[in-house]
Every structure is written in structure tokens, then in C-alpha cells.
């Protein structure tokens, strides 16, 4: 009953005209940015972040969350129509979605992606509604050892799943943690490795590094290649899937929603992980496995549902633990802190209108996306027909303005460009940027929780194994680390990671 009352409160916040307007802006900008290759939700959030300083906290988070799940919708459109994933989570959608488009079934592919995302998004929200308070209550008993093992698990997972050698992935994660120590020591306040730079005093900025490593490096890598592929030329008709499509997609959507949601809760790259897990599962369960890769609708429905459910799932550690599982979530933490709101175990209790308002706005946003996106697909297609030679200067320009607008600091543009060059070179010698970036996000939390744990335990590492939650998380991480060394598991991991890398 109280959940209903809370939801009522949530909708009263979400349906306020200002919040409705900014929810709409968020999902529209998100979809737009999701469609453009090389520009992800990070760039969009960076661009709109300064705008949120003057807003009420609920409005700010409603808009920023809208960008995030809107981008997930947009990413699937490019995967299906041009075989270019708009963002990492929609890499698998290319496999069958693009094939469907080539067979003249772009309409149903786009339709099922949107409807599946809607259903899964709604499912994820119901999950969020019930799980976040439960986890929030449990999190009150979380101490530094639990937070430390949580960050440890996140980094192990992202290294485990990154393409190529796990050793290189771990190296990148450690390097990320090391660069994460630049700036003020979280406990004593002492400056480290800043060498007098004011910009570095606050630490190496997430936004410039993330946009450099992924945005700029991506564009530089694509320069000179003929990226456009074939935009699906014929008129797209029949967006509504047929009865047969529905029948084939129903269980993939249900399974994708459940799997995606629970993967979303895990720390780490949940969006991409969930869509790959769902694709692998559908392929395994299917009675006509050979159809996968040549236009099976299940291969679109499952993963697209999974990544939207994961988006909702990822809000759980954010809102109930204050734990960001990716850069976008870290930016949301930043946006909350600017308004003096501390995400964490007491968040739901202290700011019910904020928590329930954001949850309700996601329902509203999902409806908006469904209603808007089907008719807007024509516009996105036209956008994709713009040659890459004209598009990429604009993408770079958005990155430049986005980074500058966060702190009005030119130095951060330099940090972005340098990260872009370094990212390009590292990616070409097989060092993956994803573990590095997550390490940079989690570094400060990992350090302070490690040092506090050691203070509590007087220097004994047994503290991570003597408390139940932390012991389970620790054992999980160690299992991943150790099995990657065993030859039989090693090939399995490499296969999995290779699939994830596309």
C-alpha cells in the first residue's frame, strides 16, 4: 500500500509541467545523441549539465536520466539501419537487426526494438521500485569492507569481459586507479600528483577523459574509413510487428527483461553485458539456432529489452548505495552532490519526492519514447544519410563544447584531446579503454573504503572475508580472476570477450 502511496507522490512530481518538459527534452536529446555514432550519453549529459545547476534537483535528475535511457533507444536505430552501433549496448543488435533491414523488415525490427525496450524498461522500473528500498535498507549495514569488495568486483568483471588479454585489461584497470589518485587525497586532503595545476587539484576529470577515450578516439579511428555503410534506402513501413513477430519475441523480451535487470544491478559495464548475455541465451534456447545472424527477430527483441532493463537496474546501486557503476552514473552522483543531495542508503528515506519522482518520470519517459520514436524514425534516418565527412566535425565540435561547458576550463579540452590520442594508440595495440575508465570512476571510492577497512581491522585483510556480504563479493571476484588463468576457462573467457567486443 505504501508503495502505491509513494508512487502517487512520484507521479505528482513527474507530471509537474516543468518536469514533463525537461523529461521530454532529456529523452529527445538522448535519442538524438544515441543515433549519432561516436557521441554517447556522456557527451549529452556534459552538454546539459550546466543547465541543471539552476534547476530543482528532481528536474535535473529527471532530465539527465532521460538522456541516458533515451540514448539506449537511439542506439538501436543506427544498429538496425546502418549496422553501426550508436553505443556499446547495441552492438549485438547489429547482428540480426541489420540483416532484418536488408531483407526489407526494418520496420518490424525497429518496432520490436522500441516495444521490447518499452516493456523491459517498465519491468525494470517495477524492479527498481521494489528492490531499491530493500537494498537501501540492507545497505545501512554496509561498511567500508563491503564498498571495497563491490568496487573490486566491478573492476574484475569489466576486465574479465574486455576483449583480448585479461592481463592487459587488468593493467589498464590498475593504471586507471593510479590516475584516479591524482588530486586531493579523499581522507587527509593532501594534494597528490597535481604539480601545482588547479585543474588537477579536483582530480583528473571524468568527462574529458571519457569523451577523449571514447568520443575523440572513435572519430579519429574512423577517419578515412568509409563508415557510412548502406543506409537502408527504401521506405520503412509496417513498424508494428505482426502476430507472428510477437509470438516469436514474447519470451525473448520477458527473459531479456529479467536477465538485463539483474545484470544491471551488478557493478560494471552492465548495458553491453546484458545485451550480450541475452543474445547468447536466446541463441542457445532457440529451436532454429542457424537463423541467428541472418535476421532472427529474437536476436533484436531480447538484447534490446535487456539493455533497457539494465538501465533501470543500474539506478539501484546508484540510488541505494551511492555506488556509480559507470561514467553516466558517476555524473548523476555529481549532479546530485551539486544540489547538496547525497545518494546512499538514506537517500530514499530523506528525499522520497526525489526518488519516487525520478522513478515515475522514467515511466513517463518510456511512454514518450514509444510515442515519439516510432514517428520520428524518418528524421533519424535522414540524419544518418548525412555523409560522415560532414557529420564528424560536428561530433567533434559537440565534444569540445560539452567538455568546456562543464567547468569553463580550457585545460580540460587539452585533457580530452590527449586522452583521445592515447586512447586511439592503446586501442590499436590491444589495450582496452573500458577497464581504465571504470577504474577512474571507482578509484576514489575504492581507496577510501580500503583505507577505512584497514583502519577498522588494524591492518588485517581478513576483514574482507569475515563479513558475509563482503566475503561473497570477494570470493566471486577471486573466482573470476583465478579461472581466467586456468587454460580451459581461459579459452571460454576469450570466446565470450571476443563476442562482446563484436
Amino acid at each position: 500500500m505504501s508503495t502505491l502511496a509513494n508512487l502517487g507522490l512520484g507521479f505528482s512530481v513527474a507530471l509537474e509541467p516543468t518536469n514533463l518538459l525537461f523529461c521530454l527534452i532529456g529523452v529527445l536529446v538522448g535519442t538524438f545523441i544515441g543515433v549519432l555514432p561516436g557521441l554517447g550519453p556522456i557527451a549529452a549529459i556534459a552538454l546539459l549539465l550546466p543547465l541543471t545547476f539552476k534547476m530543482a534537483p528532481a528536474t535535473a535528475i529527471i532530465m539527465l536520466a532521460g538522456i541516458y535511457y533515451g540514448a539506449m533507444y537511439g542506439g538501436s536505430t543506427t544498429s538496425i539501419l546502418v549496422n553501426i552501433p550508436g553505443e556499446a549496448a547495441s552492438v549485438v543488435t547489429c547482428l540480426d537487426g541489420y540483416q532484418m533491414a536488408r531483407q526489407g523488415r526494418a520496420g518490424p525490427a525497429l518496432g520490436i526494438a522500441a516495444l521490447g525496450s518499452f516493456i523491459a524498461g517498465t519491468f525494470g522500473l517495477v524492479g527498481l521500485m521494489f528492490f531499491a528500498p530493500v537494498l537501501g535498507a540492507a545497505a545501512l549495514r554496509f561498511g567500508p569492507p563491503e564498498y571495497f569488495t563491490l568496487t573490486f568486483l566491478g573492476l574484475t568483471l569489466v576486465s574479465y569481459l574486455s576483449r583480448g588479454s585479461m592481463l592487459k585489461a587488468l593493467l589498464m584497470a590498475i593504471f586507471g586507479l593510479l590516475l584516479g589518485t591524482i588530486g586531493m587525497d579523499p581522507i587527509s586532503g593532501q594534494e597528490r600528483f597535481t604539480y601545482g595545476s588547479l585543474t588537477l587539484g579536483d582530480g583528473l576529470g571524468l568527462v574529458p577523459v571519457a569523451m577523449g577515450l571514447f568520443g575523440i578516439a572513435e572519430v579519429l579511428d574512423n577517419l578515412g574509413k568509409n563508415l557510412r555503410g548502406d543506409v537502408y534506402e527504401r521506405e520503412i513501413k509496417g513498424l508494428l510487428p505482426s502476430r507472428k513477430d510477437w509470438k516469436e519475441s514474447f519470451w525473448p523480451i520477458v527473459r531479456g527483461s529479467i536477465v538485463g535487470f539483474f545484470i544491471g544491478i551488478l557493478p560494471g559495464p552492465s548495458g553491453a553485458m546484458s545485451s550480450f548475455a541475452s543474445y547468447a541465451m536466446e541463441k542457445r534456447l532457440s529451436r532454429h539456432r542457424e537463423k541467428f545472424g541472418s535476421g532472427a527477430i529474437e536476436g533484436v527483441a531480447g538484447p534490446e529489452s535487456a539493455n533497457n532493463a539494465a538501465t533501470a537496474g543500474a539506478f539501484i546501486p546508484l540510488l541505494s548505495l551511492g555506488f556509480p557503476s559507470n561514467v553516466v552514473m558517476a555524473l548523476l552522483v555529481g549532479a546530485l552532490l551539486i544540489h547538496g543531495v547525497q545518494p546512499g542508503p538514506l537517500f530514499i528515506k530523506n528525499y522520497p519526492e526525489l526518488f519516487w519522482g525520478v522513478v515515475a518520470s522514467m515511466y513517463v519517459g518510456n511512454v514518450m519514447l514509444l510515442l515519439l520514436n516510432l514517428p520520428l524514425i524518418g528524421i533519424w534516418v535522414r540524419l544518418l544519410k548525412v555523409p560522415y565527412a560532414i557529420l564528424y566535425p560536428l561530433i567533434l565540435f559537440f565534444c569540445l563544447i560539452g567538455v568546456y561547458s562543464v567547468n569553463n576550463n580550457i585545460v580540460e579540452i587539452f585533457i580530452m584531446v590527449i586522452s583521445g590520442i592515447v586512447g586511439l594508440l592503446l586501442r590499436r595495440v590491444g589495450f582496452d579503454g573500458a577497464p581504465f575508465l571504470l577504474a577512474l570512476v571507482l578509484g576514489p571510492l575504492m581507496e577510501s573504503s580500503l583505507r577505512q577497512s584497514l583502519l577498522i581491522s588494524r591492518g588485517s585483510f581478513a576483514v574482507f572475508f569475515s563479513r558475509p556480504v563482503s566475503a561473497v563479493l570477494m570470493l566471486l571476484s577471486l573466482t573470476f580472476l583465478l579461472t581466467s588463468l586456468v587454460p580451459a576457462f581461459k579459452t571460454k573467457r576469450e570466446k565470450l570477450a571476443a563476442e562482446m567486443g563484436g
Binding site: L223, F414, G459
Partner: protein, 149 residues
């Protein structure tokens, strides 16, 4: 490509050693009361170990992860990086409108060899439309530069 992975590992080893010496200048504390230098020093040591292992892996021909791709056109990349850096240097002195126009026009004309007409048209419209959206509608603080707009 094997050579490049080995060279990269050695570079990482250098970074690790440098970071280790630098973090030794910070108070280390001890394991039961770690201070500011503790975490960076431990990480630098771990980075040194992993980069040595990666070096060995590269020598032994552990080629996983090095994806053979088509050659990059480095000329375009260098020009683009140059224009990004130029944008950063000029942004505050020339101001938003002029720098944006120059950046977009240069990318289209010099890097992509599009016609002058198209380059100038896209450059002009990008700077004005984005100025209206970011500067006027969203209130993003943008440098005015010598034009004072």
C-alpha cells in the same frame, strides 16, 4: 604488432616506476593506518608487475587482443588533432562564434576536401545555430572573444 605491444608494456613500466618514486615522497603510513601515499605506491607496484608480465606475454607472442585493422590515414588524424588543439588555444581569445566557424570550415575544407561553398555554409550555420541553442536558449557560458558577443 607484437613489437608495439612490447613497447607499450615498457612505457607502462616506466610510468609505474616514476609513479612509485613520486608516491614515495608522500606519507605512506602503515598497513593499519595507511596515509596519502599508500594507495598510489601499492598501485604503482602492481602496475610495474602487470606491465612486466604484459611484456613477457608480448615477447612470447601472446597476440590476443591485437586486432589487425586496415591502415589508418595518419595525415587526416594529425590534421584533426591539430585543429582540435588549435580550437583549444584560440577558443577564449577569438571567442565562440569565430573559433567554431574556423574549426568546422577547416575540418571540411582542409581535412575532408569538400568544396569551399559547402565548408563555409556548414561552418557558418553550425556556429550560429549552436550559438542560439547553447548560448541563448540553454545559457551555457561561452567565451565572447574580441567580437564581444
Amino acid at each position: 604488432m607484437k613489437k608495439s605491444a612490447a613497447i607499450t608494456s615498457i612505457l607502462f613500466l616506466g610510468i609505474a616506476l616514476g609513479a612509485f618514486f613520486e608516491s614515495m615522497k608522500l606519507p605512506f603510513g602503515n598497513v593499519s593506518a595507511p596515509a596519502a601515499g599508500f594507495f598510489p605506491a601499492v598501485l604503482a607496484a602492481l602496475l610495474a608487475i602487470t606491465s612486466l608480465l604484459a611484456f613477457v606475454e608480448a615477447l612470447r607472442g601472446g597476440e590476443e587482443g591485437v586486432v589487425q585493422r586496415e591502415r589508418l590515414t595518419w595525415k587526416k588524424i594529425v590534421l584533426t588533432v591539430g585543429s582540435l588543439l588549435a580550437f583549444a588555444f584560440l577558443f577564449e581569445s577569438l571567442g565562440y562564434l569565430v573559433t567554431t566557424f574556423l574549426f568546422v570550415t577547416f575540418s571540411l575544407r582542409a581535412v575532408e576536401r569538400q568544396g569551399w561553398g559547402l565548408a563555409v555554409a556548414v561552418g557558418l550555420s553550425t556556429s550560429f545555430v549552436s550559438y542560439v541553442i547553447f548560448g541563448l536558449l540553454l545559457g551555457t557560458p561561452l567565451p565572447a572573444g574580441f567580437l564581444h558577443i
